[in-house]
Symmetry: C2
Amino acid sequence: MKTPTSLDDLIDALRCLPGVGPRSAQRMAYHLLQRDHAGAERLASSLAYALGHIRHCEKCNNFTEDMICELCRSQRRDAALLCVVEMPADLLMMEQAHCYQGMYFVLMGRLSPLDGIGPREIHLDRLVKRAQDGVIREVVLATNFTVEGEATAHYISELLSNKGLKITRIARGLPVGGELEHVDSGTLAQAVFERREIS
Amino acid sequence: MKTPTSLDDLIDALRCLPGVGPRSAQRMAYHLLQRDHAGAERLASSLAYALGHIRHCEKCNNFTEDMICELCRSQRRDAALLCVVEMPADLLMMEQAHCYQGMYFVLMGRLSPLDGIGPREIHLDRLVKRAQDGVIREVVLATNFTVEGEATAHYISELLSNKGLKITRIARGLPVGGELEHVDSGTLAQAVFERREIS
Ligand SMILES: [Zn+2]
Ligand SMILES: [Zn+2]
């Protein structure tokens, strides 16, 4: 007696989700098949759709369905400012803090040698190119104040030194070890306001 | 500036998975789109395939791709014995313990009034009909020894009383509050061996 093959496949496939081990993959599969066919159908189709349609913006590297995302196409942003964040959620936090009107570059990660994430994986070559478009005058480093976020900011500031750019770091108004996602808008706005030049 | 709609859809759809809140749904979506396109494609297709092909066996209610599952079709099982378990994983544990050669009925749950799971949701009408096929002589109740599992066993034993069937409960060799999934094969085999008649 064995579990049907397509059920095994599904359980196995669910394990590609971060933080999902064999036990919870099994629980998820049973739940979907037993209690939530509608949700499962929606998950399968939205996943297939997202895979076919979501790409990285050629300018800011954020997720988008277009070549260039809406924010990068906007005429109302200050094209001389480029803010570097780790993740899309960090960009959303910046926008919600209403403290910044420039452009962005989303690393989709941070330097983390132990996890095999180096300069290439977070596309620092593209960032360097983007920062040297002739319009950008200041690069605001808004990576997290974690060990890895700080190391990433430091690495980027070295990469961009001596290129005629002002490189700033948002102020350490965030608690040490803090992450942008978990901070209130006021604190984040203050940190942007107090950003200091670091090279 | 807003997140692309199809990304929102995906994050929302991931929340149908049990134990997945808004924060981990977002983390999962980013992970799939950023780091595991192959895994995401496999998940979408195995989910769609499972939805289209996996059904409940008409005899034992377990997941299967056929009308009647392989175990129920087998000629090597003792058709006079019917073991009632809560979940497919419990059936697998029973099989791995090599202590039982009869048939099964999988409730796909247990009575849980607080969660809105009553006799109808776990198909007790079908179990009663199955147990009265004229061949079954003994129904072995192998629900968990949790409060809900015990209540379910009790309820079923009442339902099946005075129908000329022997109703047994696997022995309380499992620790109180214990679940079949988490017990070793030897203990489970012992519990089956020591099953006692309860009505
Ligand atoms: Zn963009
Ligand atoms: Zn069956």
